[in-house]
Amino acid sequence: MMYTKKVMEHFQNSQNYGKIEDADGIGKVGNSRCGDVMWIYIKVKDGKIADAKYETFGCVAAIATSSMAIDMIKGKPVDQALSITNKAVAEALDGLPPEKMHCSVLAEEGIKSAIEDYQQKNK
């Protein structure tokens, strides 16, 4: 299995993991049957993602895409965060093996789901 340096860096050194106890939105995606579960926590302030964290059960790609996704949304306006695509996440990691692209899909879904949760709660 050949991962890029960026993937390995995010996998090994990511500090973006953990829980946000008073999160404004939580997205829980994936399925442990398939080996990947991602929880995304966000904190929103003034329409921007003030803080975000992830908890992930899964492979290298799942953890690295979670971490990268957090990097990509932090500080962004919510609607910009919402438009981040799985391809953008994968590209930011200098690519993923084809059979691991589904992990980036999960990351995109995780973010969307956390933001939707936030929007739901703040309707």
Partner: protein, 388 residues
Amino acid sequence: METKYYFDYNATTPTDPRVVEEMNKFFIENFHNPSSFYRKAGEANFAVQKARERLAELINAGSSEIIFTSGGTESDNLAVQGTAYKLKEKGNHIITSRIEHPAVLKTCKHLEKNGFQVTYLPVDRYGFVDPEDLKKNITDATILVSIMHANNETGTLQPIKELVKIAHHKGIYFHTDAVQSTGKIPVDVRDLDVDLLSFSSHKIYGPKGMGVLYKKKTIKITPLLFGGGHEKGLRAGTENVHGIVGMGKAAEIARLEMAEEKKKLRPLRDRLQKEILEKIPEVIINGDTGKRLFNTLNLSVKYIEGEAMLAMLDQQGFALSSGSACSSGSLDPSHVLLAIGLKHEEAHGSLRISLGKYNSREDVEKLIEVLPAVVERLRNVSPFWQNK
């Protein structure tokens, strides 16, 4: 970091330097086709015969009962397809188990598409086939039972002798995939009384691309590969002389040294097991801890996933394997671990540690040192661990 600590001997082994040396002259100096007429060809042929005898001796067979193949996969295919096609007028039912290697399982799936019926026996949570279960599933159409000797993932050893008796009582052929046991523990085809037995060179410190199918003299099978009449017409193709010679040498070394290896490796494996269980909470041992290959330790680390562990360990120079789907590019985790009743998450979180003759006490201590930190880090990231 370089791969420095190799714990994946069940996947493949380095070629023993004595094997490499024995093969060397068959590339350039004595490259000749053993079927040719001239004297150098005779020498190659002689070397092939000598290897055949060494391989026979390893499993207590006659040398005329050794069929050279390209590996364990071909041996399994030849045994299962070869029997099925030979006996198709007699019956169309095959019995195997759910924990076989894909070389048997997928061959059976293929046969199912071609008019055969296959029963896949379940196993208990230690990985054992129940002999009563075999008895119950035999029908008048059953022509072959194929059940592996040692499982490649858990190391669990089946009660082959007992299973063979049940099959033979009904006059049914018995094949065993002994790829993981041959060369590690004594395998005696006369004692087991199997009709067909597969093993593979690269699992016993021999070169890759070689295997053996033992076929009892009295058994008839249909070949898979037709051509120049090699291997008494059962497996055509110019002989892979260096491969055969190397595998022969590997067999000899295994026969002479396996007891010693066991004496060295079993305590190392046991220490690994004990220390890991002590140092890491919520770890499950997969497979039976008694009737198990002495070199194999399969465990599930709850709440985290196997490929992630492999990657962390790889960064620190460790080579291991996992039954997680993520490490194999497939969709489902190990069929073996699911068959012994693990939940999907547990199977995803499995690690297989398989030791071999170049492992030192130091390797083991190093793994004991590193693994807990790897697990901790990944558990810190895991929603299941954090929120349990």
